[in-house]
């Protein structure tokens, strides 16, 4: 009878450490709320600033030309297409980011394809915002303009969310999914539209 007691007491300390490992600082269950809210607000602010600037700024009509392409329009169409290809790589590697059995290069591939994708979109968005501005003349232009602002807002939110541990597991996939979906929609409303209406060429 007395034999059984020590074994009962003995496993207790290890069990406690197992329980406390996920929450080392004993944060309340919803401690993520405020940081997550601030990340979302930061994303909203970025989207809003982009949109308001694009709408209020007088379109310059000016664009930096890149040799090898037939026009600035096609530079943008192809940069967006390349970014979208990297975006698809993002989608394929995203599910394996936290898979312990995934090959080690999966995470590197995910991070660098994402960086390349967003860097490729920057010359495009600078031209869009600076030379053209927020346009609502057609449904395509309106959807594209709004989605462009949304894309960078969600991107900023996701980058900020990645810096914080302890967020619920759904946060990063949802944000990443929103970034990916808006990127695809941006491609559909710009590059695909150019390729189908003006011709598929460099």
């Amino acid at each position: 009878m007395t034999h059984t007691r020590p074994p009962v007491d003995a496993p207790a300390p290890p069990a406690e450490t197992v329980v406390s490992r996920p929450r080392p600082r004993a944060e309340p269950r919803d401690a993520f709320r405020l940081p997550l809210l601030s990340f979302l607000l930061a994303g909203c602010a970025v989207a809003l600033v982009l949109g308001v600037y694009a709408a209020e700024h007088e379109p310059a009509g000016y664009s930096l030309d890149v040799p090898g392409f037939s026009s600035p329009l096609y530079v943008k169409a192809w940069l967006t297409t390349a970014a979208t290809v990297f975006g698809v790589v993002q989608l394929l590697t995203a599910a394996r980011m936290h898979d312990a059995g995934a090959r080690p290069w999966t995470r590197t591939l995910h991070r660098w394809s994402g960086r390349l994708a967003v860097v490729l979109t920057i010359p495009v968005v600078v031209h869009c915002v600076y030379a053209l501005g927020f346009q609502s003349g057609s449904t395509r232009a309106l959807v594209h303009s709004a989605l462009g602002c949304f894309f960078y807002g969600v991107f900023v939110t996701k980058m900020l969310a990645l810096t914080r541990r302890g967020l619920p597991r759904w946060v990063v996939p949802v944000l990443g999914g929103a970034v990916f979906t808006s990127l695809i929609a941006l491609w559909l409303t710009s590059s695909l539209w150019v390729f189908t209406s003006s011709g598929f060429r460099l």
Partner: protein, 239 residues
Amino acid sequence: MSARRRRAASPLATLGAVVLLTVVLFAANSRVDPAASTAPAYPGTGGAETSTAPPSAEPTTEPSAEPTPTSEAPSPPAELQAVYAGVTSGGEATIAMAVNDDQVAAYLCDGAAIEAWLQGTLDGDTITLAGRNGAGLSGSVTDGTVFGTVTTSSGLTMPFSAAESQPPAGVYESRTTLDGLATRIGWAVLPDGTQVGVATVGDTKREAPPLDLTDGTFEIDGSPGTAEPITGSDTVVGG
């Protein structure tokens, strides 16, 4: 631990790099922009950005386009709007102006390469308008007709007269994108429906497409567009 810290820092590094690249590209654009826009002297191009342009690159000829409301507005409150339309004395160009209380917006063009967007005020019977790069207009209203002188940004000065007119006379404007280039089209329309317009695609000017005055639609290079009638309080210079 170090891997964990790196994981926390790398999204911020990505974010920082993205912001940096964006700022650099914006700066590069706004630095080159004034040089590109002063040569063709397109009244609506460049230089109007409020905060991003480097202060040294701002064109010095920027006129104050903000109409200053005067307390003694001459026109009676009932008559909010008026349109004046006419041609320059040599027949070189057509001009139309829209008056809204004491605020005036005008458009002058020859249907090919000369155009000027002008903005200003009506003070008593004196109209004073300014456009980009030295463009301007001064005139006076006498018996429902504006007589005056208009100067384009290229330095061309022309006397003109414009009579008070009924629709479809007026100033029409459309902003759109053509082949990835910012496009602004202006039309000056006379009361008999005669329309003269210039389309500025990127930095090249050409004759504007015909405007359907019944619904404001037009077609340029195969793509449809819509033009809006301009009132005196619309911003046509800067903004």
